[in-house]
């Protein structure tokens, strides 16, 4: 086959950020998968609720304090998270390093609160179907916090290594920040479901 060169690519950047990056789209893809998972477990909650004569089944509604505190912390964490993403866009290594440390801490705090949330559910997973679904909802969200935290810790270590100051790593920081926003956004309907639907 005879080839005819009609286009020169040699001026293109060696890595794209945001929508020009494949990892950005891959992260979106996994957010869609996991978002579907969250939506389905919430659907299971609503389905079981629609069948039950009383809701919650044989249990007090969860105490709202820990969950509300969680919501406040998560919502507040979005602000440094967005700032971190901006710093990464500007490739400001020093600020990105500070931001990563802050976000690592903000990944650990919710895990501590989460322990109290499980205790505040007032039901065990094996008490009845209501207990099963609230534990699953909370557990599923917890796995997301844990995985994002591990990801953030590793990336923080990476930003302090000689591999840190690189366009590709700044892209990773942005994608990681986007994923944290997703973890926070996914929490809001779960929070409403666990704490407030049980009080209607």
């Amino acid at each position: 086959m005879k080839e005819r060169v009609v286009l020169d690519l040699s001026k293109l950047p060696l890595h794209g950020l945001g929508p020009a990056s494949v990892t950005w789209w891959g992260t979106l893809g996994f957010m869609l998968i996991e978002g579907t998972g969250f939506a389905l477990v919430i659907a299971v909650y609503l389905y079981l609720m629609s069948l039950a004569p009383v809701w919650p089944l044989n249990a007090q509604p969860p105490d709202v304090l820990a969950g509300t505190l969680m919501t406040v912390v998560l919502a507040a964490s979005v602000i440094p998270n967005i700032m971190l993403s901006r710093w990464a866009e500007h490739q400001d290594l020093r600020k990105v390093r500070i931001g990563m440390v802050v976000m690592s801490a903000l990944g650990i705090v919710p895990l501590i609160i989460r322990v109290f949330e499980f205790a505040a559910l007032n039901v065990k997973w094996d008490t009845n179907a209501y207990g099963s679904v609230v534990w699953t909802l909370l557990g599923l969200h917890t796995t997301h916090i844990v995985t994002d935290l591990i990801d953030t810790l590793v990336l923080t270590a990476l930003m302090f290594s000689r591999h840190g100051d690189n366009l590709r790593r700044y892209g990773d920081v942005q994608d990681n920040a986007m994923y944290w926003n997703f973890v926070v956004a996914a929490w809001l309907p779960i929070y409403g479901c666990i704490y407030w639907l049980a009080r209607i």
Binding site: M1, D8, L9, L14, A20, W25, Y47, N128, S132
Partner: protein
């Protein structure tokens, strides 16, 4: 780990042709030997491996089918006992759906999509390697458990309460549920890879209206996978939780509900049918165009039909539950999309007929399978419209009528196009042609054997023969047709045997194919057969939907990529205008290690919930090994 960080330095514009291809081959190569085989991330090697493994599972599942037909050939046979028979039909179904049909379609995408869109590797090639290992491990879990007489025996849809803790003691149902996890992780990974490859790695100029129809089909399929498969993972996970830690999702005594299982399963299970079918129609559109010697008629209508099918696929699940006593209005609501989905299928069939009508059809083996598909699928589609009607469905539910119907749509609708596609793309995979003579024999035997085996099952179903019975009494009027179906199954099996013989013989000594033996129009035929590790020496640039027909013998290309790092081109999602030169990861053993760690955790978790805690630590370690930069040019920007 190296101490220095390497950067890409050499541009392809600086190299003459032989040095260019030599350098690219070095950069993109897979080492020979075991290490190379275990660590490769070449989409072609993984795709070929995926396809081959899936066909091995087809063969194994086919053996189970033959065993069932032998058992049912006469009344009161004693070849297989009821317990073994339960395992056999469960594993036959689960194997064919989860280890053959879905993986083989995705695997065709893994091999072909990057070539058809003109890029050098699939997006996330290491994830691709991981996906294959997870798929293989899931298959081994199912078949090894069967060999140990602990194969699942609860049917391929594992309804509760039969599969729940009360009625399914032991670990058989858990094996089923965890096999689901393995294969769904594998399938979801490939789905994301394909979506991103199609969105971001298309050749410059390949705007949305120039994407090959098979690529469109794989894109739609991938979205259906992404939206549907979480449902089965939620379902199988809650089943394991019910069985392992005493949750009550499906236990009515504690506020759970058994129909919840059916909703979750079929919210996945019906789209699953289209996950298998949509790639198949993409193959058909491709084959019809090439062998009619003209562009396919109604490109836009075909794309809209693919997307419409993908959307409607989510509105049908309740038609599997018409006999569960749901509200009448709800059932009517789901009858509507069940019938409406015949419309996009009809649109496609008319477009293909129009293409053949207006073209100059060349009746090679691939086109024969397409014709066989159209005939068979129309019959399966008609019985599908029949069972979409609630009163009729109530009559034939759980009978052999349903068995006949879904084999018509699955084998007729997906396996026939797949076999045609194998004949069509085999030259690209191997560099050699398959035998036209054996191909015609294979088609004839499979087509006749299939219809003779499965058509009588419609009648058996109308006569009341239920599914999943290991035998029947001599005074029931089912003997003759069962014997006929069993004898015909031997013909069908002989057809597949001829096909497999043809594959093996042609791979060794078939005629050399050349780059483009069918004079086909899409980009995978613009490179050698089999393609080099780097797929294309220069990135193709397209200005139409049929680049090789619009400019015979010539290809517009772009240059300016590096040759000393694995580099692909990222383009804009709609216009496919170039955006960046992006690196593509090197080979790595870490995906295999991650898959091993994940497999250990998943199998362990059948026995103890603590596996999820302790088993996750090795997974985290292997993932860090996977992603930590190694100082190669690919790790830098």
């Amino acid at each position: 780990m190296t101490d220095t960080i390497a950067h890409a330095q050499i541009l392809d514009t600086e190299l003459e042709r032989p040095r260019l291809t030599g350098q690219l081959a070095e950069t993109w190569k897979t080492e020979s030997g075991l290490w190379g085989a275990l660590s490769t991330v070449d989409h072609k090697i993984i795709g070929r491996r995926y396809i081959t493994t899936a066909f091995v599972f087809l063969l194994l599942g086919g053996v189970l089918a033959i065993l069932m037909r032998l058992q049912l050939a006469g009344p009161e046979q004693r070849l297989i006992g009821p317990d073994r028979y339960n395992q056999i039909f469960t594993i036959h179904g689960a194997n064919m759906m989860f280890l053959f049909a879905v993986p083989v379609m995705e695997a065709m995408g893994v091999y072909l999509v990057p070539l058809m869109v003109g890029t050098r590797n699939i997006a996330f090639p290491r994830l691709n390697a991981f996906s294959y290992w997870m798929f293989l491990a899931g298959g081994l879990v199912l078949w090894i458990s069967f060999a140990l007489d602990m194969g699942p025996d609860v049917g391929w849809f594992a309804y509760v309460p039969l599969s729940g803790p009360q009625y399914a003691p032991g670990k058989r149902a858990d094996i089923w549920a965890q096999m689901i996890t393995f294969t769904e992780v594998a399938a979801l990974a490939v789905a994301v890879e394909i979506v991103v490859t199609v969105f971001k790695q298309r050749a410059p100029g390949m705007s949305l209206d120039r994407i090959p129809l098979f690529v469109w089909a794989m894109l739609v399929t991938s979205f259906v996978v992404i939206m549907a498969m979480p449902a089965i993972m939620v379902a199988s996970t809650s089943l394991i939780l019910d069985r392992l830690v005493g949750t009550h999702f499906f236990n009515p005594a504690e506020g759970g509900d058994v129909l919840l299982w059916q909703h979750l399963f079929w919210f996945f299970g019906h789209p699953e049918v289209y996950i298998i079918f949509i790639p198949a129609v993409g193959m058909v559109s491709t084959l019809v165009a090439t062998f009619s010697r003209r562009p396919v008629y109604g490109y836009l209508a075909l794309v809209v039909a693919l997307i419409g099918t993908g959307i409607l696929a989510f509105g049908l699940w309740v038609h599997h539950m018409f006999t569960t006593g749901l509200p009448r209005l709800g059932e009517s609501f789901f009858t509507a999309p069940s019938m409406a989905i015949a419309i996009p299928s009809g649109v496609q069939i008319f477009c293909w007929i129009a293409t053949l009508w207006e073209g100059r059809p060349v009746f090679k083996t691939p086109l024969l399978f397409v014709i066989g598909f159209i005939v068979t699928f129309v019959i399966g589609g008609l019985t599908g419209v029949m069972v979409a009607s609630v009163p009729f469905d109530t009559q034939v539910h759980d009978t052999y009528f349903v068995v006949a119907h879904f084999h018509y749509v699955l084998i007729g609708g997906a396996v026939f196009p797949l076999l045609g596609a194998v004949y069509y793309w085999f030259p690209k995979f191997t560099g050699r042609m398959m035998s036209e003579r054996l191909g015609r024999w294979a088609f004839g035997l499979i087509f006749i054997g299939f219809h003779a085996t499965f058509f009588p099952m419609h009648i058996l179903g109308l006569e009341g023969m239920p599914r999943r019975v290991y035998t029947y009494q001599p005074d029931l009027p089912w003997h003759g047709l069962n014997l006929f179906a069993s004898a015909s199954a031997v013909v069908l099996a002989a057809g597949f045997l001829v096909f497999f013989i043809d594959v093996v013989m042609s791979a060794r000594s078939g005629n050399l194919a050349g780059d483009n033996p069918w004079d086909a129009p899409t980009l995978e035929w613009a490179t050698s057969s089999p393609p080099p590790a780097y797929n294309f020496a220069h990135m193709p640039v397209v200005s139409g939907a049929h680049p090789l027909w619009e400019q015979p013998g010539a290809l517009n290309v772009a240059d300016g990529l590096h040759t000393d790092r694995r580099e692909v081109l990222v383009t804009a999602i709609t216009t496919a205008a170039p955006q960046a030169r992006e690196s593509s990861p090197q080979n790595s053993i870490w995906p295999l290690l991650t898959a091993i760690a994940t497999s250990i955790m998943l199998i362990w978790s059948i026995f103890s919930p603590w596996a999820v805690v302790w088993g996750s630590i090795p997974i985290a370690i292997t993932l860090i090994g996977w992603f930590w930069p190694k100082g190669t040019p690919e790790d830098e920007a």
